[in-house]
């Protein structure tokens, strides 16, 4: 019978080979090759490329010959260009498209009463582009950006002053062209919501809410979604709502639920979903969630689905008695591998401790494979060493490591961060549970000094979550001006959380995705609000050719300048 000690021996033997460093300059070589070759295209590009194939056959019957050589339109075009006789076919297609462009432009110019001179310049420009540029499958197809810019629909759109203003703003165009926004604009419920008077309060809220920018948006949306999930849903419905989210989003929302809701959700998840959730959570939230799993079998099942690093990370966060009891439940091989990993971390700690200066210690810690390993080693250093090492790290670096710790180790490391501003930056990145644990265990003076360094939105979120006596005591330690600001921010935050239209938007998958993509700035824009009331604009808003036109900014701006 093979026992745990045999397994451990095998692991030690395998580990004797160690890990290998890639040859010098490896990253540079990869990046050079990556930069020199074709670049990946997002999904919208694939849609754009495949869309015009059928249309192309109707408009250009002679292209049938070339398309028979390949399955896709892009293949056929490329192959036509490479084969001897195919060159003629490709040229025919190019000149066919250029000819069509001339006809379209002339028609648009004629019907809109513009001078022939202006139109002719545009036509020549368009024809030159088709002839001069490297022929690509996109350029050669009708339905692309150029074709759209020359279409009657585009002409109608730009006749609307507000929409023209919107399209003239490159930053808004960029937002408008984002996949998530385009998908949201294809969702009739969202379009109706954005165009309805009910949305006005929401849009105003977003417009005035400078807080809802960048990283705060994710936290706000998670808060909003957690609020919606808490509301009168059964455990099954809560779990279903969470399952709709991506792994990262799910963890963000889950961390903002109360203990009761968390347990209800966990009970309805499969073993794999539980493991995925546990692996995405950080700090004390990870341990707390793991402990919520009912029964040994459930914990062992989830544990076995974690990667070895994650397993070690979790065991290190349990207290000594818990981790020994838990490890005893694992089978021989897993137990041995885990013990080996833990021994490895101990060896790393010993090696770092042996180094004389903080500079060397920081370098050694940075060389460890994962942030989790780095955090484990850092948390095991003596206080003086830890202070010195943390002092040598950048703000982002120390925050990334402290986020991965939990309990006493996390609090200890947090206290070793010298500056209140840096402490605030770390605090802002922690899970809500860890934030509360740290704030409530600092003295009121220390806590207030840190919270005072946070921005308005973060202050409101933390004070709002602490609530009751803790929240009030903390606020009382701040300056009068900060107290007033916190109160105002709490009210604004509450108003946003209570906003029915916003809740509806966040509750829909497409709406939440659009907001996450940064579309709050777009939704809050006055011109966009006007534009979404315009039926012509809305009729093309989610169309691929419009999307292509938005992404082809130089061509769009050129076309707009001709119309001005």
């Amino acid at each position: 019978m093979i026992g745990p000690s045999d397994d451990e021996r095998l692991h030690r033997a395998l580990d004797s080979l160690g890990s290998e460093d890639p040859p010098e300059g490896f990253t540079d070589r990869v990046m050079a090759e990556v930069a020199s070759g074709p670049h990946p295209r997002p999904a919208w590009h694939r849609r754009l490329v495949s869309l015009p194939a059928a249309l192309g056959h109707q408009l250009f019957p002679w292209s049938k010959h070339s398309s028979e050589q390949g399955n896709s339109s892009s293949d056929s075009f490329r192959r036509a260009g490479m084969a001897g006789g195919g060159v003629i076919v490709a040229k025919k297609v190019l000149w066919g498209v250029a000819g069509l462009a001339v006809v379209v432009i002339l028609a648009v110019v004629y019907f809109n009463g513009r001078t022939v001179d202006q139109g002719a310049q545009g036509t020549i420009g368009a024809a030159e582009r088709y002839r001069g540029a490297q022929p690509s499958s996109v350029d050669a197809k009708p339905g692309n950006a150029q074709a759209f810019l020359q279409s009657d629909t585009f002409d109608k759109i730009v006749k609307n002053k507000d929409v023209r203003g919107l399209l003239g703003d490159a930053a808004l165009c960029k937002l408008l062209a984002e996949d998530a926004v385009q998908e949201a604009l294809q969702d009739q419920d969202i379009v109706a919501l954005l165009g309805s008077p009910d949305a006005e309060a929401m849009l105003k809220g977003l417009d005035n809410e400078a807080l809802l920018k960048g990283r705060h948006l994710a936290a706000f949306l998670a808060e909003e979604q957690a609020g919606a999930i808490k509301n009168k849903l059964t455990g099954e419905e809560k779990a279903a709502a969470l399952k709709k989210l991506t792994d990262v989003e799910r963890a963000l929302v889950f961390a903002r639920l109360g203990d009761g809701d968390q347990s209800a959700v966990i009970a309805k998840l499969s073993e794999e979903e539980r493991a995925s959730l546990v692996s995405k959570l950080e700090g004390g939230e990870q341990v707390a969630t793991f402990k919520k799993l009912s029964g040994e079998a459930e914990q062992v099942g989830v544990f076995q689905k974690l990667a070895r690093d994650q397993q070690a990370r979790l065991v290190l966060k349990l207290d000594a008695g818990e981790s020994a009891a838990f490890m005893a439940k694992l089978d021989g091989a897993d137990q041995a591998a885990l013990k080996f990993k833990l021994t490895e971390i101990d060896a790393q700690v010993a090696a770092v401790k042996k180094l004389a200066g903080a500079d060397d210690q920081v370098v050694a810690i940075r060389k460890l494979g994962s942030e989790a390993d780095q955090a484990s080693v850092l948390s095991k250093l003596a206080d003086l060493d830890q202070t010195a090492v943390i002092g040598k790290m950048s703000g982002a670096e120390k925050a990334a490591l402290i986020v991965k710790m939990s309990g006493e180790a996390q609090l200890n490391a947090f206290k070793h961060v010298a500056d209140a501003g840096d402490q605030a930056a770390v605090l802002g990145k922690l899970e809500p549970r860890d934030q509360a644990a740290i704030i409530t265990r600092l003295s009121e003076v220390q806590a207030a000094a840190v919270v005072a360094k946070l921005d308005g939105f973060e202050q409101a979120m933390i004070v709002g979550r602490l609530g009751g006596m803790h929240g009030a005591a903390l606020t009382a330690r701040l300056s009068n001006a900060q107290q007033v600001e916190i109160k105002a921010n709490l009210m604004r935050l509450q108003a946003l959380l209570d906003n029915a239209a916003l809740a509806k938007l966040v509750a829909s998958d497409a709406g939440a995705a659009a907001l996450r993509s940064g579309a709050s700035a777009l939704f809050a824009n006055v011109q966009f609000r006007m534009a979404i009331q315009d039926p012509t604009f809305m009729s093309v808003a989610g169309k691929p050719d419009f999307e292509a036109a938005l992404r082809n900014q130089p061509a769009l701006q050129e076309a707009l300048s001709k119309l001005r």
């Binding site: 019978m1 080979l17 890639p22 960048g214 991506t246 959570l281």
Partner: protein, 183 residues
């Protein structure tokens, strides 16, 4: 967990690459190069071929980024590409892997004779394993993948991974330490 969904998250980096930010890919290369290279070396036994395979895996991953299913872990997907790349290399060379030749360069001359002997024995034992068994040992031990991630990377059910891993460990134990075969 950070409020920021941004820089630390592989999927966000992928989004940035797909948005045209080629330089963002360097984050992923730096994050995974060591483990990918180690896995490739263990699978192929030749440092040069391993470097080529790892490089090709990164380049292929970049060019196919749009096909990456964001419902799965990025590194599982990357490993799958690497495993395929290693299989291609192995098929192409059609000879027995000179496992120790490529790794000799990585040896530390100052290590003790005992350690060197153990290392040589382990390398030889790994070489004697069939590719399917070697893969699971390498991915589990040197890649640190969970059973599920290994299943995804190798394109086989989780059960198969577990049974292969069990058999592979058993064979290694028999080979290295004369474990007795369990009936």
């Amino acid at each position: 967990m950070s409020f920021e969904l941004g820089e630390d998250d592989d999927r966000r980096v992928v989004e940035r690459c797909l948005g045209g930010d080629t330089a963002a890919f360097q984050t992923l290369v730096e994050r995974y190069q060591r483990v990918l290279f180690t896995v490739a070396v263990r699978m192929l036994g030749d440092a040069d071929q391993a470097a080529d395979a790892a490089q090709e895996a990164f380049v292929r991953a970049y060019r196919k980024l749009q096909t990456y299913d964001r419902g799965h872990k990025f590194f599982s997907w990357l490993y799958r590409i690497l495993v395929n790349e290693c299989l291609n290399v192995r098929r192409a060379r059609r000879v027995l892997e000179p496992l120790d030749a490529g790794l000799a360069a990585a040896d530390d001359p100052h290590r003790g004779a005992e350690r060197a002997e153990l290392k040589a024995n382990v390398l030889a034992a790994l070489r004697r394993l069939s590719p399917a068994y070697r893969e699971v040992i390498v991915l589990r031990h040197y890649g640190g993948l969970s059973y599920l991630e290994m299943a995804e990377a190798l394109g086989v059910p989780e059960k198969t991974v577990k049974s292969r891993l069990y058999s592979a460990r058993q064979l290694l134990g028999e080979d290295l330490f004369n474990w007795k075969r369990e009936s």
